[in-house]
């Protein structure tokens, strides 16, 4: 199936500002959302998204239709950019450290308001190893298919499912005993 974004990119490469705007409108929000959840920092997330588009304009004249879908490329570049920033910050949490992550998570308060629920979940998400976090953000929040998520992360679908299962297990442990209270509080405050 032809990628509609490829046509927009071709036109943007030729100087069509309308096509460039359409690409930004179609993909920017998701890229920022993805980067925010990976980095835990809104400003850095915007920087990553901006850098991704700078790279896109640079490679636009050389884009070939048989390459990956444009959305896959954009997400992959964004994920790798986030990984680079996390490594530089010294906040890279490898898989080998994952066993300690849930045990070290602070125990949340018994009753949380809706903002505290979101904060607790965000904290648990940020405590995950980056690859598990990326897998959950792509599949749960960005609702990317398993095949596309695997392509973005450049891993097999089996490996993706392993990351997802471990990430969800860690999230459950970090929020253990609070899930029903968190959901109950969220329903009461909505």
């Amino acid at each position: 199936m032809r990628d509609p974004d490829a046509d927009l990119l071709r036109r943007a490469a030729s100087g069509d500002a309308g096509a460039a705007e359409a690409l930004v409108r179609a993909h920017l929000r998701r890229l920022v959302s993805l980067a925010r959840r990976l980095l835990g920092d809104a400003t850095e997330a915007e920087d990553v998204a901006q850098d991704v588009f700078v790279q896109l304009w640079r490679i636009a004249p050389r884009w070939r239709d048989q390459d990956a879908k444009l959305s896959t490329w954009l997400h992959r570049v964004a994920v790798n950019a986030c990984y680079d920033r996390l490594r530089k910050r010294g906040r890279w949490v490898g898989e080998e450290a994952a066993a300690d992550v849930a045990d070290a998570a602070p125990h949340p308060a018994q009753r949380l308001l809706r903002q505290q629920v979101a904060q607790a979940v965000n904290d648990a998400l940020l405590a995950l190893p980056e690859r598990q976090r990326a897998a959950i953000v792509l599949c749960h929040y960005e609702e990317v298919s398993n095949i596309e998520a695997a392509a973005i992360l450049q891993i097999s679908v089996d490996a993706l499912e392993s990351l997802l299962a471990r990430g969800r297990r860690s999230m459950r442990l970090a929020l253990t005993g609070q899930a029903e209270d968190l959901i109950g509080d969220a329903e009461q405050s909505s």
Binding site: L28, R29, V32, R36, N122, C139, H140, A165, R168, I183
Partner: protein, 135 residues
Amino acid sequence: MDRNRFEAIVAAYGADPRRWPEDERLAAQRLAAIDARAASLLADAAALDQALDAAQGEPDVALLGARIVKRYKARQSLASPASVSFWALAASAVLGLAIGFGAGVTMPSAGAESLQVLTGAFESPFEATSEDVGG
């Protein structure tokens, strides 16, 4: 679809069938409908899904989007034919000044020798001879 595979799907993707692998979704839904243990697994997974959903939040990207498009237009402006001609002309002028200045600096005295250096700078080492063109 066996129970082991169903459990693996729910463990990875959660309780919402929309997130399940497309090619296994129907079979998984059929098993969930008839298997009591499957229903229990789904209920547990749904609780975590709802907690994850509580952390949803849409970033406001309007200003960022405008900045990105502005940078795109600036980039296109630099690459336009008019700007290429301008920069090519500017580069040629700078190059010409640099060669002239360099020749003036290196030659201790003006005269025929300096003239040869200047003209030599513009001669191609690959100029065709009468032999090359069969003349």
